[in-house]
């Protein structure tokens, strides 16, 4: 049977499973065929799990033989794939780094066990920038993930495999992680939906740490509805992650913004960001078109001021490397993964970390060590924390006037491979719209907002169209606002 993979969603698949027109085994086989056909060019997958079909058969068996159990499993037989920095017990997880080659997860990450309990199956692990440090997957030790819309361009990053695999119809839905835009930016480059939840709403247990005050796991999917459904399953307090929010915490946060009327959302736009230059004209035009579409749907759009937001990227590139330098200290050639022998213990450290960690990871460790060193700690680390609070206060004020803030997701469409790799600052500027949500913990979503046609043709002689995305940022714990505005926007797109 032929399956139209392009139009499948979690709910349509569930319906087909239910009325017997599709089995999980058939669906997984269709995805494996698609991976076989396309992934040689794209390189989204680090590994396709050998037991994928086995897992699907087991799910089909539960559906057939135990309807009570099946009824309690919303994702029974639904194929997921996850970024290579989340642990699945018994499966390799390497963060696309040589230092974790052949490392096998000793337990399930909390998000994985929650999805398993819901019946989900896992068909593979996905390419990424090494330890999630980068915006293009060019920092993967296993080659770049190419953009399904144009093979000369990057899929974005760091969750490039997670976005490209959904865009190329090689899996239904995926998980990524987002420290400064790593779910939203590749989602935007590949034309899919990417959600960064509120910090603390999704457990980080079993996620390899990058910036511990910034990291969060979230879904990548074709539709807002799927992102919402996955978020509902993976979120919640977890005793293995002390920073997760309790239901009472979440309730308390929601009460603070109880004036929000989901039927009459007010959208804020930020002139300070739009006028600072460096934004691709096609992105600006797309944003303005998107604003018009929202207005036509009866949404109120007004300008708000965020005076300190222009410092977000600078603040991020102090705090993130500081946290990276601490987190990466655990890779010491003793506890996990690879080892390059030296003449003594110090030699083991120097050789292993020098040879098995990639260029960008080492750059950030050195930068983090610098901003935390005595003499510079006050000027950089402390100052950045202060500005972080000022940005947070700006948003609090803005949210008195609007319910959600709109920006482009990235300042450009997907860029050419190699274009930004010689200049780290140029690469970092791709994060300019996304880092703020991580700094202040708020939830944000990237929604496809159309395409820009460029003056190049693909192998079939057709003009290449690159996807663009817009980002909505809501107050803490108001993911519901993102889902509402996202659905509204997609309806008028």
């Amino acid at each position: 049977m032929t399956i139209d993979l392009k139009t499948l969603t979690i709910s349509s698949v569930r319906e087909m499973f239910k009325n017997g027109t599709l089995t999980s085994e058939e669906l997984v086989q269709a995805y494996l065929d698609q991976i076989n056909m396309k992934d040689k060019d794209i390189n989204a997958f680090r590994e396709v799990f050998a037991d994928a079909i086995e897992q699907a058969k087991k799910a089909d068996g539960i559906r057939k033989n135990n309807s009570t159990e099946a009824g309690n499993m919303p994702f029974l037989g639904i194929p997921f794939a996850v970024k290579d920095n989340m642990l699945i017990e018994g499966k390799q997880a390497g963060a696309s780094s040589k230092i974790l080659e052949n490392y096998v997860g000793a337990y399930d990450a909390t998000v994985i066990s929650k999805l398993k309990n819901a019946g989900a199956i896992f068909i593979g692990r996905l390419n990424m920038d090494e330890f999630a440090m980068g915006g293009s997957t060019e920092n993967s030790a296993y080659g770049v993930t190419k953009n399904p819309n144009d093979l000369s361009r990057v899929a974005g990053g760091s969750s490039g495999g997670s976005a490209a695999s959904v865009a190329m119809d090689a899996v239904l839905v995926t998980l990524g992680s987002d420290t400064g835009g790593s779910i939203r930016q590749p989602a935007s480059y590949c034309g899919v939906v990417g959600l960064k939840p509120t910090y603390g709403r999704v457990s980080r247990h079993g996620l390899m740490a990058m910036g511990s005050s910034l990291d969060v796991i979230g879904p990548i999917s074709k539709t807002v509805e799927e992102a919402e459904e996955i978020f509902n399953v993976i979120s919640g307090q977890d005793r293995y992650d002390a920073t997760t929010l309790s239901d009472a915490d979440v309730q308390r946060m929601i009460e603070k913004t109880s004036n929000i009327n989901l039927k009459k959302l007010r959208v804020g736009i930020v002139p300070e960001l739009m006028n600072m230059g460096g934004i691709n004209p096609a992105v600006l035009k797309n944003l303005n078109d998107s604003i018009e579409k929202l207005k036509s749907a009866g949404v109120e759009v007004k300008e708000v001021s965020l005076p300190h937001i222009k410092y977000s990227l600078a603040v991020y590139y102090v705090l993130m490397p500081a946290e990276v330098s601490s987190n990466m200290a655990r890779f010491d050639s003793i506890k996990y993964g690879g080892k390059v022998e030296g003449k003594d213990l110090l030699g083991d450290y120097l050789n292993t970390r020098g040879e098995l960690l990639g260029k960008e990871v080492r750059r950030r460790i050195i930068l983090g060590t610098y901003v935390l060193s005595s003499g510079y700690h006050d000027a950089y680390y402390n100052k950045a924390n202060i500005v972080r609070d000022l940005i947070s206060a700006d948003f609090k004020k803005a949210y008195e006037e609007v319910d959600v803030i709109l920006t482009p997701t990235a300042p450009s469409p997907a860029f050419k491979m190699g274009q930004n790799s010689s200049d780290p600052v140029a690469m970092y500027l791709e994060d300019i719209f996304t880092v703020t949500a991580n700094l202040i913990g708020i939830p944000a979503i990237s929604i496809p907002s159309g395409f820009v046609e460029i003056d190049e043709v693909n192998d079939n002689g057709e003009k290449i169209k690159l996807p663009l995305g817009i980002q909505f940022m809501a107050p803490l714990c108001r993911e519901d606002v993102l889902f509402e505005i996202g659905k509204k926007f997609k309806a008028v797109l």
């Binding site: 490392y103 096998v104 000793a106 603390g200 293995y240 002390a242 920073t243 915490d249 308390r252 946060m253 410092y311 600078a314 603040v315 590139y317 102090v318 330098s325 200290a329 010491d332 050639s333 003793i334 506890k335 996990y336 993964g337 690879g338 080892k339 003594d344 213990l345 110090l346 083991d348 450290y349 970390r353 020098g354 040879e355 960690l357 080492r362 750059r363 460790i365 050195i366 930068l367 060590t369 610098y370 060193s373 006050d378 000027a379 402390n382 100052k383 950045a384 924390n385 202060i386 500005v387 609070d389 000022l390 947070s392 206060a393 609090k396 780290p424 600052v425 202040i440 913990g441 803490l476």
Partner: protein, 105 residues
């Protein structure tokens, strides 16, 4: 702010990274560029007291630092043997490391 190759070498030693001469030069150039960009935070002077460590939670956020009592809770750990087996070298259920005491002068 310009970073010298000597400073890079010092930072690399502190963070236990062996660098080639070529890499040292490249990182000196990269870090100087990045610091030039991040130095714009120095313009901000409102509400700033850099003598405080500022690790207070923002008023709005439920928490920033979370502590628990320093007691052993075995139920938090997965099977220890599996963790030991993740080490590059282990023997008899223990992680193996190079000798660090009693080395010859």
């Amino acid at each position: 702010m310009t970073i010298t190759t000597e400073e890079i070498q010092k930072l690399a030693n502190l963070s236990r990274l062996k660098l080639t001469e070529e890499e040292t030069k490249q990182y000196a150039k990269d870090l100087s560029g990045i610091l030039k960009y991040v130095d714009q935070i120095q313009e901000v002077t409102d509400g700033v007291d850099t003598t405080s460590t500022s690790l207070k939670a923002p008023e709005d956020f439920p928490h920033r630092n979370v502590m628990r009592d320093d007691v052993s809770d075995q139920s938090l750990n997965p099977e220890p043997q599996k963790l030991v087996e993740a080490a590059p070298k282990y023997q008899d259920g223990l992680v193996e490391v190079k000798k660090i005491l009693g080395q010859a002068e």
